[in-house]
């Protein structure tokens, strides 16, 4: 049996000032096995993987790789011993090319007479990309010219290549939420690759908040909660409900999207969009958003829904068309103008656009509505604290207190902070761009409940769902876009929920 074990984690703990991120975790990874890792935001998944690859050492405990002691001091050492990792946050150098990124840190292999032979490197890179089924990305392209999904594919092929190259023997590949920015088609490609690796005898640890993915791909699932390993399920035992119960500590209420609570929108039109367009991105987009309505936008990457979002949030100006807010024409030159009217968004890219990482939770939550924290002319720290505490409690944010820097929160908890900011802003129209990306199921449920509650209170929501399910479950109405134009408007009222296929056929 022990012959079959590739990697062992013995009683590993990790303590940060004020946080016990991991407590006495042990696991075995067998050769040629895909292990799923699930847990709430901040449960310690990323922390564990970072210890495995060597970004940080464990506070206690030990690890073994192929029966030998394994204690990498840096990721390079981990790589050499046959461990590779795709990080949760992007880790490609955006001003270098795809090829240079794939062999980043490995340039020595291409040295010829002291100089790097770029041509050889790009040829090799082409092959590496081809191996993973990527043929439409040129290795000479700079990363910054690729969209996020493509970057992710490059990243994955890079790690797969590194792991394969490291040794003839079986290696271990760590994937921290690799699918959160991928489209369904890309996810399927990825899964095919993962299975191929498995068949070659490599092992994979796979982290995701999408339980269906976990169930689809994993041979075994470890469940984490508050730094403890609270469960281990074999493939055949895994059900969504079991996972949920272990992760959250209570059983799912079943009614995931709270459809029962969905109310019908009111008559009043809050936002009226008349024939707006953005040159080269989309055109002829018109719709009305009613008070209390949740309006979903669906479409594949490049369909233009993101750009509609950017225009409504004031980030870019439309090249044509008009926007009316509460009956009056409005023009936004920056998101601040939109916020003044009462429109605010939860942006898609958390690290780049969402959090103010250097600042405390308190500042992050109150920044969009400082007037609410004023007492007289000045901003009152006390009020800021009250507001923050309220949202920390409401959204169940895992943190030491409101003075903690947001950059030290786990991915999902940081997302909750962005959400809290939006909720605290007293806006009338909320633009939710992938609001639950990287958020664990428990928190998702809370967020769904909040969205419902807000809609019922008369707020209007524009939703770009993280999944199609989410869009269907939450929206009153769905607009489908394809190649820059609206292809269909679909009713999604309480008793009239469309099937996924009904939407997909207008997307493709």
């Amino acid at each position: 049996m022990s012959d079959n074990v590739l990697f062992k984690v013995n009683n590993v703990s990790k303590f940060f000032p004020g946080t016990k991120a991991l407590q006495g975790v042990s696991m075995d990874i067998k050769k040629g096995e895909i292990v799923g890792l699930v847990g709430e935001n901040g449960a310690g998944k990323s922390t564990l993987l970072k210890i495995l690859i060597g970004v940080q050492p464990p506070s206690n405990g030990s690890m073994e790789m192929r029966g030998r002691k394994y204690a990498p001091k840096k990721p390079r050492e981990g790589n050499k011993m046959g461990v590779g990792m795709v990080f949760q946050e992007q880790s490609l150098v955006s001003n270098l090319t795809v090829g240079q990124n794939i062999f980043f840190g490995e340039e020595k292999k291409f040295l010829k007479g002291g100089f790097v032979n770029w041509r050889a490197m790009y040829q090799k890179a082409s092959k590496v990309l081809g191996d993973v089924g990527i043929t439409n990305i040129k290795p000479e392209t700079k990363i910054k010219d690729l969209n996020f999904a493509r970057r992710q594919m490059v990243e994955i092929s890079k790690v797969l290549n590194a792991a394969r190259a490291s040794s003839e023997e079986n290696s271990l590949i760590l994937l921290d939420e690799p699918t959160s920015v991928l489209s369904d088609a890309e996810i399927q490609t990825l899964f095919t690759e993962i299975r191929k690796l498995k068949n070659e005898g490599h092992s994979i640890i796979f982290v995701s908040h999408r339980l269906d993915e976990i169930m689809e791909i994993s041979d075994r699932v470890y469940v984490f909660k508050d730094g403890y390993r609270v469960g281990e399920l074999e493939r055949d035992d895994v059900t969504e409900n079991k996972l949920y119960e272990l992760m959250v500590g209570r059983s799912s209420t079943g009614e995931y999207f709270k459809i029962a609570d969905q109310s019908d929108p009111q008559e009043d039109v809050v936002l009226e969009v008349d024939n707006i367009g953005l040159t080269g991105r989309f055109k002829d987009v018109s719709f009305k958003l009613h008070k209390g309505e949740i309006l979903g936008f669906c479409g594949v990457v490049g369909s233009g829904k993101e750009d509609v979002c950017s225009i409504l949030s004031g980030d870019i100006a439309p090249s044509r068309g008009r926007i009316k807010f509460e009956g009056k024409d409005v023009k936004f030159s920056e998101p601040h103008d939109a916020l003044k009217k009462g429109i605010l968004s939860v942006p898609k890219e958390r690290r780049e656009e969402g959090i103010l990482g250097l600042l405390s939770i308190l500042e992050n939550i109150t920044i969009a509505n400082l007037d609410a924290a004023k007492s007289g002319l000045l901003i009152s720290k006390k009020k800021q604290q009250e507001i923050s505490q309220h949202w920390i409690d409401t959204l169940n944010v895992k943190c030491t207190d409101y003075n903690e820097e947001v950059s030290s929160l786990s991915g999902g908890n940081a997302q909750k902070i962005v959400f809290a900011r939006m909720l605290a802003s007293d806006s009338k129209v909320l633009i939710l761009n992938h609001p639950t990306r990287g958020v664990d199921v428990g928190a998702k449920e809370e967020i769904y409940e909040l969205i419902r509650e807000m809609a019922n209170r008369g707020l209007s929501v524009i939703l770009l769902g993280d999944t199609l399910d989410e869009s269907i479950g939450l929206s009153n109405r769905i607009i489908v876009m394809k190649d820059g134009v609206i292809t269909q408007e679909i009713d999604a009222s309480k008793n009239n929920k469309p099937e996924q296929l009904d939407i997909i056929k207008h997307m493709m």
């Binding site: 990721p75 150098v93 001003n95 840190g105 100089f115 040159t279 055109k283």
Partner: protein, 336 residues
């Protein structure tokens, strides 16, 4: 929806991409355009500006700022800054004058003296980089301190009365020509080629760009970021040192004043060429153009006898115009 609309969005997209590419191309060549426009204007206003003699003069004047800014470029590419230019140039100018044949000391090390002094420059850069990395102090502050320390040491080495250089080989760097071009210009070209190779054909060059883009990524990838940083500062110090040496060869005296007032022209050359201070963008090619712009501008203003009161203002405005043409401002670009 009709096929026509689909097509037109696609067409629009293509047109847009084309326009953006055009604009990008313009920003990329903006420094060249600016340079040509400046040359054109000076050429029209003063017939002596475009002449063989002045061409040689500009090449000679270009050398020191070019060499120094080629060094500092690597530091800027990492998003750091090197303010030690004035001090370290002063130091090497003073030291080299005492090591080659001179009126103050009995030394006569010739070429060896130059090599030692170049190493002193590199050592100063090394120390700056080392302290920045190990003590985790912003390079702005370390190099600010280093400039002061180096200038102080320079004064101490010659105790205030500068040496006059008597080594004719050393003076030859400034006084002699090879193929009609001053030797110091050849040196600058060699440094340029080395810098270009460093940037384009070595892992070091890639790491410098990566650090400028986002330091945490190469760190995570297991690159020894600290070592790369120290190396970049060492290279910077080496070039600054060489600049000081050539400055003193030109002047024939080893005074700390050789370094004075070089920092801002050097930084201007780097930035006007299109290298971003935030790091990760630009490079030695840009710096070559930037150094040319700065040198030509300075040369032309003096040549035309522009009132010294106004020279600064004219330079300032041209710098702003030049950079405003060469800066890329994509959606969501952040200007610091």
């Amino acid at each position: 929806m009709s096929n026509a609309t689909d097509l037109s969005i696609a067409e629009e997209f293509a047109a847009r991409v084309k326009r953006e590419n055009q604009r990008n191309r313009v920003t990329q060549i903006a420094p060249i355009i600016v340079l040509l426009v400046i040359i054109g204007i000076f050429g029209i206003l003063n017939k002596d500006f475009i002449s063989g003699t002045n061409f040689i003069t500009i090449l000679a004047q270009l050398s020191v700022p070019l060499i120094v800014s080629l060094g500092v470029t690597f530091v800027v590419l990492m998003g750091s800054i090197d303010l030690s230019v004035d001090g370290v140039m002063g130091l090497t100018a003073a030291v080299v004058s005492l090591l080659v044949a001179n009126t103050k000391t009995a030394m006569d090390l010739g070429l060896m003296g130059i090599v030692i002094t170049v190493l002193i420059g590199a050592a100063a850069g090394f120390v700056t980089g080392f302290i920045q990395v190990k003590a985790k102090i912003p390079s702005f502050m370390v190099s600010f301190g280093m400039s002061s320390v180096a200038a102080g040491i320079a004064l101490i080495t010659y105790s205030g009365i500068p040496a006059t250089i008597q080594d004719s080989m050393f003076r030859g760097i400034a006084l002699n020509k090879f193929l009609g071009i001053p030797i110091l210009t050849w040196i600058a070209f060699v440094v340029f080629i080395i810098a270009y190779i460093l940037q384009e054909y070595t892992p070091f060059g890639r790491y410098v760009y990566a650090i400028g883009d986002d330091e945490s990524i190469p760190r995570q990838a297991g690159i020894n970021v600290d070592r790369v940083k120290i190396l970049a500062f060492t290279w910077s110090g080496l070039c600054i040192g060489l600049g000081g040496i050539i400055g003193s060869a030109r002047l024939g005296r080893g005074t700390v004043l050789v370094g004075k007032g070089n920092l801002f022209p050097v930084m201007t050359a780097i930035v006007v060429g299109g290298t971003a201070l935030s790091g990760g963008k630009g490079g030695v090619m840009n710096t070559l153009l930037g150094a040319l712009i700065v040198t030509v501008l300075q040369n032309g203003l003096v040549l035309m006898g522009v009132d010294p009161y106004f020279q600064a203002a004219i330079q300032g405005i041209i710098i702003i115009i030049a950079v405003s043409l060469s800066v890329t401002r994509g959606r969501g670009t952040i200007m610091k």
